[in-house]
């Protein structure tokens, strides 16, 4: 795993998952993102770092937010960007994932940003793509969503400065969440004091504690004295597959309300990777309230993705 993501000098070549990456590598991403984050307030929101590079954004699953922030990040680095929604493209005609990749390779592209519904797709593409190509995982099945995790880390560092003394709670569908897996790994790698997960047993993976977290089935206990609250989106299909009775019961047990928020530290921040289900996992007044940093996460997403794109392409071949 480690070898696949890093080049022979230990620099980031692909960005597929957090596991196998050191604190130094993660910190380098955050520091690089820091230098890009002021850019969006400038008049000219563009640097020529990736001029002449071609980036293909390959989405086998729908997403608006992630895709557009990747597009903006690539554009602001002056790369040429091609976005393909494969759900409606070649693979529906029976073309295999590998053939799609091969065809695009033949067009001399430099990077794939891939989202796919099957865990391990990013690794598969990285293993089979031509050596000059960098692959960034924009979410694969239930495995990883490492750029989301890094933008969340960036946001936490912005508000809390250091991870050492933090208690972080992640609430919701941990079982099916690639975001949660990557967040947990990133938080632990960066030295967070305590990572908690809060959910009913049906939404927690077995052996969840092996990820380095404390599990709670009761939100009141889990929220006590935390510095950071991360809410996850609840997918509607969880109700039909007998994992939960209904949305109202879920909100009753696990929804973030003003009352419950008081259990956390008074300066706790509330995060959500979006899109929000208002009234299902979070009360509207919190989502729009002073402790919410949800929109800040979206802005940070551009800077963090610029950092990851430039670092991976920089390590890959000629100096930029």
């Amino acid at each position: 795993m480690k070898n696949l993501q890093l080049n022979t000098e230990g620099k980031l070549k692909h960005f597929l998952s957090i596991e196998g990456l050191s604190k130094e590598v993660l910190t380098e991403i955050l520091d690089t993102a820091e230098s890009f984050s002021s850019m969006s307030e400038q008049k000219v929101k563009k640097v020529p770092l990736l001029r002449g590079k071609t980036i293909v954004i390959l989405f086998f699953e729908n997403s608006t937010r992630t895709r557009t922030t990747f597009e903006l990040a690539a554009t602001r680095l002056s790369a040429d960007v091609l976005t393909m929604n494969i759900a409606t493209s070649a693979t529906s005609k029976g073309e295999s994932l590998l053939d799609t990749i091969r065809n695009l390779e033949a067009m001399h592209v430099d990077m794939f940003v891939v989202r796919h519904a099957i865990s391990g797709s990013g690794h598969f593409i990285a293993q089979n793509a031509a050596p000059h190509i960098s692959v960034i995982n924009a979410g694969d099945g239930q495995h990883a969503h490492p750029t989301q995790a890094m933008l969340d880390m960036f946001t936490i560092r912005q508000y809390k400065h250091s991870f050492d003394n933090l208690k972080v709670a992640i609430i919701g569908d941990i079982l099916h969440s690639r975001v949660a897996r990557s967040q947990i790994q990133a938080l632990n790698t960066l030295g967070t004091q305590e990572v908690r997960v809060i959910a009913p047993k049906t939404l927690l993976p077995s052996h969840v504690e092996t990820l380095g977290v404390t599990a709670f089935n009761c939100i009141e206990e889990g929220l006590k004295d935390v510095d950071v609250i991360i809410m996850l989106r609840l997918q509607k299909e969880r109700m039909t597959s007998a994992l939960l009775p209904n949305e109202r019961e879920y909100f009753k047990c696990f929804g973030l309300t003003e009352e419950r928020l008081k259990l956390a530290k008074s300066n706790a921040i509330v995060m959500h990777p979006g899109p929000i289900n208002r009234g299902v996992e979070i009360e509207s007044s919190i989502a729009d309230g002073p402790q919410s940093v949800i929109l800040q996460q979206v802005s940070n997403g551009i800077a963090v993705r610029m950092a990851i794109m430039s670092l991976t392409l920089q390590s890959n071949g000629e100096t930029l």
Partner: protein, 425 residues
């Protein structure tokens, strides 16, 4: 036919309690004598087996030969060649070929192909239900007449327990052994790895132990109800072994096998997203592996099988959950069994019994022993000879093994089937 003398080998034949240096004499395709001195025997061929082990040829209870129907993965010729090189002289072919082994015609087609390949004996396993669909009984009597040695639904599930009950009853009326692959599909839920730490970390669809153990418990109850001879194929969990041990104590006619790789690999050994580790049942925990080894030593698990499943390249080329499960494992069967002896998990005679005497008893065939007048099926191997798993040594059409590139100890030097040398190193 040639008269063969295998001289000075270390003979291990659990059925006849042999564990000493001696000669084996073969004439007319049959064993003439083992561990006696026949002074008036003139051999056409003498094999010097000094420092080597001489034992009955191995009987593999589950090897997919991919033929008929999937010759792009392997053929009866390619896979029996692999079997011969692995010391295997009899293979049982599960019924999930294409077409399924549920008619006399398909059974005869396989017998015909096997004869042309002229290699190890192939025992077809007939389908327990028509087209393995789990709804209508197959023509078991006709299948038995055509040469099927047992009946099984391979890995195809039963959604209706009443059908399984009837199938077991009907098989039992024809004195057919039922081989059962324990799995509750609603619980395994299209998973691809064990429900444990590995699945949790990598976000892969997971299979809980209960999907196997509940099926084992259920089928033991049906064996009691129907009086059927029952064999559990490829168990993977400690709690399955415990249930089988209880059933045996209770006096039920139950046997079990384990795939050789389950005795060596666990979820901790899986290289992330390496599809060569994708197998069903999935690799479980260290605790399960340890228990499977103990169960083999104490006789709860009777048999080691290869669970050989060769694949073409495309089948393993993809993201892990989308690849086809299974390992090409005939050729690593012996070295991995010997590794169990090196690990002090079992003795060498126990390992050989699990590959010869025990499968023969479960199948009810006169084989798996060096008894006089039995078909001369013999394996001679050098337990210390090392070899590397690579394209130079590999015979199977499928190179899908997690042991690829590794150096293993123990190699077959000669395989004799019905008095004919079908492989020599």
């Amino acid at each position: 036919m040639k008269k063969i003398l295998i001289s000075n080998g270390h003979i291990i034949d659990p059925e006849n309690n042999l564990d000493q240096v001696g000669n084996v004499y073969i004439a007319d395709g049959k064993i003439l004598a083992a561990n006696q001195l026949l002074s008036d025997f003139t051999a056409d061929l003498t094999i010097d087996a000094s420092d080597n082990i001489v034992c009955p040829g191995f009987i593999d209870l589950s090897a997919r030969l991919r033929d008929p129907g999937q010759s792009y993965k392997g053929t009866i010729l390619s896979e029996t060649t692999a079997a011969a090189s692995a010391g295997v002289t009899s293979v049982c072919l599960p019924p999930d070929t294409s077409p399924v082994i549920d008619t006399q015609a398909v059974t005869e087609l396989i017998a015909d192909k096997a004869e042309k390949a002229n290699y190890p004996q192939i025992y077809p396993i007939g389908a327990l239900t028509h087209n393995l669909a789990g709804s209508e009984l197959s023509s078991m009597f006709a299948l038995k007449q055509a040469g099927c040695i047992a009946v099984s639904n391979a890995t195809a599930p039963f959604f209706n327990l009443l059908v399984l009950r009837r199938a077991m009853e009907y098989a039992s009326s024809h004195d057919l052994l039922v081989m059962y692959h324990p799995d509750i599909p609603a619980l395994s839920n299209n998973g691809c790895v064990h429900e444990g730490a590995f699945a949790t970390q990598y976000g892969l669809p997971a299979i809980p132990e209960a999907s196997e153990t509940i099926a084992v418990a259920q089928c033991i109850e049906l064996a009691e109800l129907t009086g059927c001879r029952l064999h559990f194929s490829q168990i993977s969990c400690k709690r399955s072994a415990i249930k089988i041990q209880q059933a045996k104590k209770y006096g039920l006619k139950v046997t079990a096998d384990v795939a050789i790789h389950q005795l060596h690999l666990t979820e901790d050994d899986i290289e992330p997203f390496n599809s060569f580790f994708h197998t069903l049942p999935p690799f479980r925990t260290k605790k399960d592996k340890q228990s499977l080894r103990e169960s083999l030593a104490n006789g709860t698990i009777d048999i080691i099988c290869s669970d050989h499943q060769p694949h073409d390249l495309d089948a393993k080329l993809g993201a892990f959950p989308e690849t086809e499960p299974g390992i090409s494992s005939l050729e690593t069967l012996l070295p991995l069994a010997l590794r169990l002896v090196d690990d002090n998990a079992i003795t060498l005679p126990q390992g050989i019994a699990a590959l010869t005497q025990n499968p023969a008893r479960t199948l009810g065939i006169q084989s798996g022993a060096l008894t006089a007048d039995y078909s001369a099926d013999v394996c001679i191997f050098d337990p210390t000879l090392s070899w590397t798993v690579n394209q130079d040594t590999w015979k199977s059409a499928g190179g899908n093994t997690p042991f690829w590139g590794q150096t293993l100890k123990g190699r077959v030097t000669h395989t004799i089937q019905a008095g004919k040398v079908i492989y020599s190193l």
